[in-house]
């Protein structure tokens, strides 16, 4: 049952949680005492522009986050002046920070997936730097609590106990706010900015229900953070849920239990259902199973749905493919789950798509302690188009290489070679499978070319959600007129200017259809279509395959479906493609 804690990445996550329990438990009590709950929630989120700047300019993310948090703190307290606990000012500065971060992220630097990770946290990707930061925060918090905790206690008790000797109350408050900011940054890696309060506030509030004295409260808070973090981490491995959210749920459940227990003591009848409900929640959360590998097969991890499809085609029954991304999920939004790291730990071969699409795989593999070779299939494809030029997140090559079937052929050959090296006994079977699949790919390529030839070149004008189809367009003579998100990553957000430029272009070029992507959901594409009179009814499979049973549930199906949708869109619905190849 405790197997989870034998995995090295889980052990490191556990260590991080245990170290953080000291500052989280201590500061949690001060946060509650001093009415800083909203501030502590805001300060982690307000670190966002710092994270973007750090990513864009290439310095350490915690440094950027802490800088932003300090500026936020100074701004919020400076504006607040004498009026303590004015949440409106905190909210005002928070909104400024978030807006600044979004503008920086989408218009100045482009954007990258590591910002997502920092906003939502990733306990399974804790490294030595994170542990050191947590340790430093723990030491600073402990020291400050020992030396000046009494001043915080008194200032919270009554701010107007006049004594002019020594530093002002503002001095001690500044230290407290600084520590809260530091601890929020340290916790970013674990639970992410949006769930920081799960570590800081919820255990402290829970412990407060059960204790009357500061010291007991603080010790109990620390113990609760440690226990909830440990249980949450274990549960997240067992149920394969994101660890930060799981810890937050466990903390919430413990709070409900504690509140119910307290109510039970004062009013036994009324509270019983609440306690039963809370226990049920915990039980339900505790259920879940784990998958285990098959010893006779080659264990393969593929990052994207396309690579998973290729690997299954080539490997056949001789491989066990664990595919990290799932259909219709946006790879730019990926957060690692325990099973991903666990699968990577047991993998013999890991297939990656390359560039910024799945850059996180390197860290997952190295953190899992796996010896597996990461095969970057994107690096070996023959046709490569330039990536985005601007911003630090720009990549050298456009990562959506699979939309040219000639590149898919090269990837299939690469998979065949890697599988043969991993299991030489099955070499001939892999070769047979690969050859059969490659024949299908070539037929696919010819069929799509034929189909698009049925549309006059002047009408092959493509407008999509984001710039994912340059390879497809390049292969089949399609002109990419624009994209709703003018970026190869879906992380960027279109500005009003971008959208009105696009609308003008669509009207000037007489574009008949805009093609939303299946994995992105309804977006601005529909709005642009309504404004310009173009249709937006034909969706494309861009970054991932469709779910099982959809027309795009395999690579071949996906490309056929895309060709069909484009031809129908270009011709205003007159015709699609010829019968399937």
């Amino acid at each position: 049952m405790l197997d989870a804690f034998q995995l090295p990445f889980v052990q490191r996550g556990l260590l991080e949680v245990l170290i953080l329990s000291v500052p989280a438990g201590l500061l949690g009590t001060w946060i509650v005492l001093r009415g800083l709950a909203f501030f502590s929630h805001a300060v982690g989120t307000a670190a966002f522009p710092g994270l973007v700047l750090a990513g864009g300019l290439g310095f350490a993310a915690p440094l950027g986050a802490f800088g932003a948090a300090v500026l936020f703190t100074a701004g919020a307290t400076g504006l607040r002046g004498r009026r303590n606990g004015d949440d409106a000012v905190t909210a005002l500065v928070l909104v400024g920070c978030l807006a600044g971060g979004v503008i920086l992220a989408s218009d100045v630097f482009g954007s990258g997936s590591n910002i997502e990770t920092l906003l939502f946290g990733s306990l399974l990707l804790v490294d030595g730097g994170d542990l050191a930061l947590a340790g430093g925060t723990a030491a600073a918090t402990l020291l400050a609590t020992l030396l000046i905790g009494q001043h915080w206690l008194r200032a919270g008790f009554d701010p107007t106990l006049g004594d002019s000797s020594g530093p002002s109350a503002g001095f001690f408050d500044a230290i407290l706010l600084g520590l809260v900011a530091l601890a929020a940054i340290a916790a970013l890696t674990v639970v992410g900015a949006l769930l920081v309060t799960a570590l800081f506030l919820v255990p402290a509030v829970t412990a407060r229900l059960l204790t009357e004295r500061l010291l007991h409260w603080q010790l109990l808070s620390i113990a609760l953070v440690a226990a909830e973090g440990t249980v949450g981490l274990w549960l997240s491995v067992e149920t394969d849920a994101p660890p930060g959210a799981t810890i937050a749920c466990v903390a919430g459940a413990v709070f409900v239990l504690a509140a119910a227990a307290k109510a039970l003591r004062s009013r036994p009848r009324a509270a019983a259902p609440a306690a039963a409900g809370a226990a049920l929640v915990l039980l339900a959360a505790g259920c879940g199973g784990t998958a285990d590998g098959n010893p006779d097969k080659v264990d393969v991890v593929a990052t994207t749905t396309q690579l998973g499809d290729f690997a299954r085609e080539v490997g056949g029954d001789a491989v066990e493919v664990d595919q990290i991304l799932q259909p219709n999920t946006d790879p730019h939004d990926y957060e690692p789950r325990p099973s991903d790291v666990e699968n990577a730990a047991g993998a013999e071969v890991v297939f990656a798509s390359g560039e910024d699409l799945d850059g996180w795989i390197e860290q997952i593999v190295s953190d899992s302690g796996s010896e597996a070779e990461v095969v970057d299939l994107g690096a070996g494809v023959p046709i490569r188009l330039p990536g985005e030029s601007s911003g630090d997140e720009a990549s050298e090559f456009d990562p959506h290489w699979w939309h040219d079937p000639r590149n898919a052929e090269a990837a299939v050959r690469g998979i065949e070679r890697a599988l043969a090296a991993a299991d030489p006994a099955q070499r001939s079977e892999f070769a047979r499978n690969a050859d059969a699949y490659l024949a299908k790919l070539r037929r696919l390529d010819r069929a799509i070319a034929r189909c698009l030839d049925s549309v006059p070149p002047a009408r092959r004008k493509l407008v999509t959600d984001h710039d994912a189809f340059d390879y497809f367009a390049n292969r089949y003579g399609i002109e990419v007129v624009g994209a709703v998100i003018p970026s190869q990553t879906t992380q960027a957000q279109p500005s009003a200017g971008d959208l009105s430029d696009l609308a003008r272009t669509i009207e000037a070029e007489k574009v008949k259809a805009i093609f939303p992507e299946s994995s992105l959901g309804a977006s601005a594409a529909g709005a642009i279509a309504r404004q310009t009179g173009a249709s937006a009814e034909h969706t494309l499979y861009g970054d991932t395959l469709g779910p099982t049973g959809s027309s795009g549930d395999t690579y071949i199906g996906m490309e056929q479906a895309n060709a069909e949708a484009m031809v129908r869109g270009f011709t205003g619905g007159e015709h699609g493609c010829a019968p399937k190849p």
Binding site: G156, F157, G162
Partner: protein, 249 residues
């Protein structure tokens, strides 16, 4: 009793953001004296206490504070739920005497226990502050002021909400403290309280009057103090409160 003046104000004005909330204050508070600050809500009693504590710097005039002042504030609702014992609260008084990086140790806790003893609350030292009665809370806060080693105690509406026995105990304690040579200033609405003091300062955004209660508290002063809207009838047994147009001279 012409002893040294611990606090002396001359034409004092104080307030927030450069705007005076009180002005024209000229008074002295001497060792062993009990002074009443009489005035309506919003009349500036709390502003004056904050100026005496040094939290507000005078906007004009002069204020000389020759001794350490300690305040016994009104209990805030949030304090009732605060995770501290009576002893913890009394110990807080030591913070203003210690260097800022020193936490109160055994010595300070012993002083706090002695101060609780002094106000008759030694048995309640371990009780949660919010759980003791209102009168006991006032005495805990007075104990804190004693630990702070203050010669001037500023009490903000200390009798509000106290029952008669609690009020009497507090009266006795205040008498003891002034007997030791401490000065006590009491902000109050209560005319009877004001009458029992050595001096009374009538305050309604400016100083209406200052002097011995018997010479100071007449109807004109009280009408001016309470803005001419309501006035307590001097000498009325039930302390009736009537609008000024109801009484006839």
């Amino acid at each position: 009793m012409r002893t040294e003046a611990l606090i002396e104000a001359e034409g004092l004005a104080a307030g927030y953001d450069g705007r005076p909330a009180i002005s024209g204050l000229s008074f002295q508070l001497r060792a062993g004296e009990r002074m009443a600050l009489l005035g309506p809500n919003g009349g500036g009693k709390t502003t004056l206490l904050r100026a005496l504590l040094g939290e507000l710097t005078p906007l004009s005039g002069e204020l000389r504070v020759e001794a350490r002042c300690g305040i016994v504030p009104q209990t805030e609702r949030s304090q009732l739920d605060y995770p501290v014992s009576a002893l913890d609260v009394a110990t807080m008084g030591a913070l203003s005497r210690l260097p800022w990086w020193r936490r109160p140790g055994r010595r300070e806790r012993e002083q706090a226990a002695a101060a609780l003893d002094r106000v008759g609350l030694r048995p309640l030292a371990g009780e949660t502050f919010g759980k003791v009665s209102g009168g006991q809370r006032q005495r805990v806060l007075i104990a804190r002021s004693l630990v702070q080693d203050t010669r001037v105690l500023l009490l903000d509406e200390p009798f509000t909400g106290l029952d008669r026995p609690s009020s009497e105990r507090l009266e006795d304690l205040i008498a003891e403290l002034t007997g030791e040579g401490r000065a006590v200033a009491i902000a109050t609405h209560d005319l009877e309280q004001a009458r029992r003091s050595d001096s009374v300062l009538c305050l309604n955004r400016r100083q209406i009057a200052f002097g011995r209660p018997g010479e100071t508290l007449d109807v004109g002063v009280l009408e001016a103090t309470y803005g001419g809207t309501i006035v307590e009838l001097p000498g009325a047994a039930g302390r009736a409160i009537l609008p000024p147009h109801h009484h006839h001279h």
